[in-house]
């Protein structure tokens, strides 16, 4: 039986997480189909067909799928879902909204956020906010799962030529209605909840030089923080301080630039998933907690890093 991956897209472009989800599907073995459900989503279907490893692209192009309302889409997927061994979607807000509803319609469990494939019916997934990893086996005839994109290598976007098949069945539950959307707020995220934080220390030398970090942060969608030394030196405002007496942060990526790593600073960021330190002093204590340390002049390294991203 084939595997069905549900594409994440905005009716114009296919989202990259779909390629990672296809990467997870490839580990399962078997033919892979990709469902593109939307409205006027021909461009997405064309992108989907170009992915090597996808043997068939199913396109459901109808007004009722324009905003991917779960009520309508779940009926569509559940309608033919039993014909597949696996139904996979990226574990973004769209997949998380849709897949449990599909699973319940099929009377099967759903596995959330899988980060590893052990066998076609056994997967690894984080629980307790990633403080433990569970290995879970599905006992159902169909495996319905959402896939954490960052855990799987993506398939290439180009090089294939899958068949494209249109689906004409439309399902309209008629109970929910799209009202509006407010996307792409470009504001820098809040320090306390940002996925990535770029922090500067006394090594920056002045408040003006924090502009370097801001450029880098904007490129990464990161928040900007500072060590107490930088705050005390008057480079930046108090509310940017990361540390024992400032904000405690635990982002996925913390980039410490020109920060030596006083204990009080470490107390505020040591729970970050990945820590990068850039400092010209190879003996700086920050390197002891850093996953990746770069001994370099920050005024050269930071612009170079920003360009390399």
């Amino acid at each position: 039986m084939a595997i069905l991956v549900i594409a994440e897209h905005d009716n114009r472009t296919l989202k990259g997480a779909t390629l990672n989800t296809l990467g997870a599907a490839a580990l399962l073995g078997g033919e892979v189909h990709l469902l593109v459900a939307g409205r006027s989503c021909g461009a997405v279907a064309a992108q989907a067909a170009a992915i090597p490893g996808v043997s068939k692209v199913l396109v459901a192009d109808a007004a009722v799928y324009e905003h991917q309302l779960a009520e309508n889409l779940a009926r569509l997927v559940a309608g033919f879902g039993k014909a597949y061994s696996h139904l996979l979607a990226p574990a973004g807000s769209a997949g998380k909204n849709l897949m449990p509803r599909v699973a319940a319609l099929l009377d099967v469990a759903q596995l959330s956020d899988i980060v590893g494939v052990v066998s076609p019916n056994t997967f690894r997934r984080p629980i307790y906010a990633g403080n433990a990893i569970a290995t879970v086996q599905s006992l159902d005839p169909v495996v319905v799962a959402t896939v954490r994109a960052s855990a799987f290598d993506p398939l290439p976007a180009e090089g294939g030529s899958a068949a494209v098949e249109s689906l004409d069945a439309t399902h309209d539950a008629g109970t929910s209605r799209f009202v509006g959307e407010e996307l792409a707020k470009s504001d820098r995220p809040e320090l306390g909840s940002a996925r990535i934080v770029v922090s500067g220390g006394r090594g920056l030398g002045s408040g003006e030089n924090f502009a370097l970090l801001e450029t880098l942060a904007d490129k990464l969608g990161a928040a900007v923080g500072a060590s107490r030394a930088a705050v005390d030196a008057g480079f930046v405002a108090n509310d940017m301080q990361v540390g024992q007496t400032g904000k405690i942060v635990a982002p996925e990526l913390y980039i410490a630039v020109g920060i030596s790593g006083a204990i009080q600073h470490l107390a505020g960021m040591k729970d970050s998933k990945v820590i990068v330190a850039i400092n010209k002093d190879p003996e700086a204590p920050i390197f002891q907690v850093a996953d990746y340390g770069l001994v370099a002049d920050l005024f050269e390294a930071v612009p170079e890093l920003e360009k390399a991203l």
Binding site: Q244, T245, I248, Q264, K270
Partner: protein
């Protein structure tokens, strides 16, 4: 994650196993109160403490209260926190239902107050003082005064203060000079009061001062002091705050710690005279204050526990995280692996658990007095309250000095750095042995009123009860060493009592000379007694299942207490035995 988490497990152990709260409530007819309810209340108070009050502790320290144009401006954030605290009904915990209170036992209130003081002692002083004002009015106020003020104080809409001390009248209240002159249906108060905790702030729309002052015809000394209610804003016909009274904060003290708690110089009657209303009878003001004294002193003792717990949690976390040792393979290990750091942590832990046990057991005696089935039982429990109160106040706060100091020590050099926060607890703790009667005053109370005055009867009862615990330890198998240690400490207690009773008459300086050592000896002995009882209960619970990690730690902590803290009773006894000789031998000039 908060840097303070209420140690609910230990509190529930003490309430359940030492206080036997459920049995007490059932016997006292408090059928609404049980362990499940108390757990729910502790959990919610713990949340508010951790999430709202604890984060403001450092803010209060660095941005203390200041005097502004409209009076005292409290630390930023305190007003919002107070509103949350007040709207959640916490001020009403133990007050009578008639005034809108929840009528919960004092021991439950004490367990909850531990949380507030751990989370933010400077903040928690405000509701603590209010509680004192509530008690004064509830016991001595006229029906009219009670109706006007108690519901608002119990709900926390208004806060209360205690105005006793004057520049010339500290421990010696006989020297009070503030005056009260009759003026129609009220009195006009004038004079200056100092060290008035939370004497003014902007968190509520009224502040109710209880003020000691002298009537024109008052006899000299303590028998001429009367108690008055002086509101910051006079009440209008509807009982709402109206005209500003002639009572204000004229300056704030600069202190070693608790910067978030405004310590006011209050000036009454600078203009036309502050309107005040007599509480109780004329010239009986000090007696009114004595009603509150046991509670106030136990509350300060509790603060010693609270600040120690906070210091311990901080030191423990640091010791687990601070890498400062290198293994043979080059990997580094945290300082908690060093034996001496473990000793310090365990000394903090053992002290704290003994303090908590004593604070709650003493608080429960207040409930047992209130709910005693007959006058004899009432007298017995009141005697125990009277005896334990100076020990709770004196010993817990003295121990807090050592515990918070160890907290700094564990941090090494970082402990001396303010930003680390360990030093804050050390500074904040320092007031505790001073206010609400210094350790010296507590010790005089213990040797005088609580021992010599009743020929040692109260102490004798306590010592006999400790003797029963020694006997149970002896017959319980694994506790032979602890039975011996507690037995020796008990013997030291008996000997100290004998030396005092037999020597005090012949040597007028003896009681005062030995008093603090006497108090500390009985503190360590009471702590050892309750830790031994904890160990017996923990052993019994282990045999029927239960939380192994907690119960086994309790056994070890009790053992450590017996091995390392209880022997201090012997040194104290030696000092007591030395009597007053050298202490009184030097002339004043020779110091």
């Amino acid at each position: 994650m908060s840097d303070y988490v209420h140690p609910y497990r230990d509190t529930e152990f003490v309430l359940g196993e030492l206080v036997e709260l459920e049995r007490f409530c059932a016997e006292a007819g408090l059928h609404d109160v049980n362990g499940e309810l108390v757990s729910a209340i502790l959990a919610e108070a713990g949340r508010l403490g951790s999430e709202v009050l604890a984060p403001l502790n450092a803010v209060g320290d660095t941005q203390g209260a200041r005097l502004g144009e409209r009076g005292v401006e409290e630390t930023p954030g305190f007003a919002a926190a107070y509103r949350q605290f007040q709207e959640s009904g916490w001020p009403s915990l133990t007050a009578a239902e008639a005034w809108g209170g929840q009528n919960l036992p004092n021991v439950v209130g004490t367990a909850i107050n531990e949380i507030w003081h751990s989370a933010n002692m400077a903040f928690a002083l405000c509701p603590m003082l209010t509680q004192g004002a509530i008690e004064a009015l509830a016991h001595h106020g006229s029906a009219e005064l009670q109706a006007a003020y108690l519901p608002k104080l119990v709900s926390g809409e208004w806060t209360g203060t205690m105005n006793l001390t004057e520049p010339d009248a500290g421990s010696d209240l006989a020297a009070i000079k503030a005056r009260a002159v009759p003026n129609g249906d009220h009195y006009l108060i004038s004079g200056q009061k100092i060290f008035i905790t939370w004497g003014d702030h902007q968190m509520t729309d009224n502040v109710v001062h209880l003020v000691l002052a002298r009537l024109p015809d008052a006899p000299a000394g303590v028998k001429g002091i009367s108690l008055f209610v002086v509101p910051k804003f006079l009440l209008d016909a509807q009982g709402r705050p109206g005209a500003r009274n002639d009572a204000q904060c004229v300056s704030l003290e600069h202190k070693l710690g608790i910067h978030g708690s405004p310590t006011c110089v209050m000036s009454f009657g600078e203009k036309e005279g502050a309107v005040g209303y007599l509480v109780g009878e004329p010239h009986k003001g000090l007696a009114c204050m004595f009603t509150m004294m046991n509670h106030a002193r136990q509350s300060v003792g509790l603060q010693g526990l609270s600040i120690s717990e906070r210091a311990y949690q901080q030191a423990r976390q640091y010791a687990r995280e601070r890498l400062q040792g290198t293994r043979k393979d080059g990997s580094r290990f945290p300082i908690i692996e060093f034996p001496d750091v473990r000793r310090m942590l365990l000394q903090m832990k053992a002290s704290i658990e003994a303090m908590r046990a004593l604070a709650l057991v003493a608080a429960a005696e207040v409930d047992r007095t209130a709910h005693a089935p007959d006058p004899a039982a009432c007298a017995r429990h009141q005697g125990r309250v009277d005896l334990l109160t100076p020990i709770v106040k004196g010993w817990l706060t003295e121990l807090a000095q050592e515990v918070t100091s160890l907290g700094v020590q564990i941090h090494g050099g970082m402990g001396f750095i303010e930003e680390t926060g360990a030093a804050r607890h050390y500074r904040d703790a320092r007031i505790l042995t001073i206010y609400e009667g210094t350790t010296g005053i507590q010790a005089l109370d213990l040797v005088g009123r609580k021992t010599l005055l009743n020929r040692g009867e109260l102490l004798g009862d306590l010592l006999d009860e400790i003797g029963e615990t020694v006997a149970r330890l002896e017959s319980a198998g694994p506790f032979a060493a602890q039975a011996r240690a507690l037995g020796e400490a008990l013997a030291a207690g008996r000997e100290a009592r004998r030396l005092l009773l037999e020597g005090a008459e012949a040597d007028a300086a003896l009681a005062g000379s030995v008093s603090v050592n006497f108090l500390m000896l009985f503190g360590y002995l009471c702590g050892g007694w309750l830790m031994a009882r904890s160990a017996l209960r923990a052993q019994a619970l282990l045999e029927t299942g239960g939380d192994r990690a907690f119960l086994e730690a309790k056994l070890v902590t009790a053992r450590f207490y017996c091995e390392q803290l209880l022997p201090r009773t012997q040194a104290l006894l030696a000092a007591i035995r030395a009597g007053s000789g050298s202490i009184m031998a030097l002339s004043d000039e020779q110091f």
